[in-house]
């Protein structure tokens, strides 16, 4: 009897040790992802809580971004392609940090170039600032000319699991395979 208990403990320990880990940076304990209720770029009412059951990746960015945002969106597009028949496991939500220039129409057209399933959120500067505050994100306008500017902001991807918990952050530039890896791991959790 004792031997059986020891053996099962050893087996459990080895299984626990072999459990694959997320490639992203991980919170422990995870907290509930701050709620987001906002008009989406397509005119529908968006509620983050309605996406429970999917793995949600939030990206903060803006449509005039020339390097970081399009690169991240391309990686997320690739990730959905790699997921193939399981692409619906991943829902990408792109949150504008430049609501003055990112009108709903512009945001919708911009995201459709990458993947039509991507949800875009924009609103008044106050509404968008409130979302950023909840996630601890800063966005700073950097003038690039008399009438132009870029916006400095977080380039991390925020992973929310199927239960709505903010679980992980992935730094910019990680390959699509790592996004797929983390989406599948979070999806497989009960």
């Amino acid at each position: 009897m004792k031997r059986r208990v020891v053996l099962s403990l050893l087996l459990a320990a080895s299984v626990a040790q072999a459990a694959p880990e997320l490639k992203s940076g991980v919170f422990s304990p995870a907290r509930v992802a701050p709620g987001i209720a906002q008009k989406a770029a397509d005119g529908s009412d968006f509620r983050l809580s309605r996406l429970r059951g999917k793995v949600v990746v939030l990206e903060f960015g803006f449509t005039h971004c020339q390097a970081i945002c399009p690169a991240s969106l391309s990686l997320l597009t690739q990730a959905r392609q790699k997921l193939g028949a399981h692409a619906d496991r991943l829902q990408v939500v792109f949150i504008s940090v430049d609501p003055e220039r990112d009108t709903p129409a512009r945001l919708k057209t911009y995201l459709a170039q990458f993947d039509k399933s991507f949800i875009g959120l924009t609103g008044t500067p106050e509404q968008m600032a409130a979302i950023r505050k909840d996630y601890g994100i800063s966005a700073t306008k950097v003038p690039t000319g008399p009438d132009s500017y870029q916006v400095g902001h977080s380039s991390y991807l925020y992973f929310i699991d199927r239960k709505g918990m903010l679980r992980a952050l992935m730094p910019f530039g990680r390959p699509a395979d790592e996004i797929v890896h983390d989406v599948n791991l979070l999806w497989a959790e009960q």
């Binding site: 040790q17 940076g25 991980v26 422990s28 907290r31 601890g136 994100i137 991390y156 952050l169």
Partner: protein, 143 residues
């Protein structure tokens, strides 16, 4: 007699050289996933001290990690208020475990620092030979 002396010297040299050769050539690897973590704890009262004007640094401003050996930054917030590390909002009593996969310098804004920034330097694992020997000796005397 002379032969015995030579054997003695040879053995002494071997006793010194063998561990050095091992240190220079044996591959580096972390003993466990836990061993790859470099823990930094933000103690309780950090925010309060900052608000009172205390400029003493609690955390180092520069952290050096080595890929494949010690390449995970573990931040533990023991303060009573949330702390911001780069884009990460770490709540009280929460840990954030950030693995690094690329060598380079990674600067982060950090509210727990007097200077407001922390730089994580991620180095490639040292190659076999003098670089690995130097790395091992450095970490042997550091710990």
């Amino acid at each position: 007699m002379r032969v015995k002396k030579r054997i003695g010297i040879a053995l002494a040299v071997a006793a010194i050289m063998a561990p050095l050769a091992w240190a220079a050539l044996a591959p580096l690897h972390a003993r466990s996933a836990h061993a790859r973590e470099h823990l930094f704890e933000i103690p309780q009262g950090t925010w309060e001290r900052r608000m009172k004007g205390d400029k003493t640094s609690i955390l180092p401003e520069r952290v050096v990690l080595t890929l494949g050996v010690r390449d995970v930054l573990l931040l533990r917030n023991r303060d009573t208020v949330p702390q911001i590390f780069g884009p990460v909002l770490i709540m009280p009593a929460q840990d954030f475990r950030l693995p690094f996969a690329q060598a380079g310098e990674h600067p982060f804004d950090c509210t727990a620092h007097a200077s407001g920034t922390m730089t994580v330097v991620v180095e490639e694992a040292p190659t076999a030979g003098l670089a690995r020997l130097r790395w091992r000796l450095h970490h042997l005397f550091k710990t």
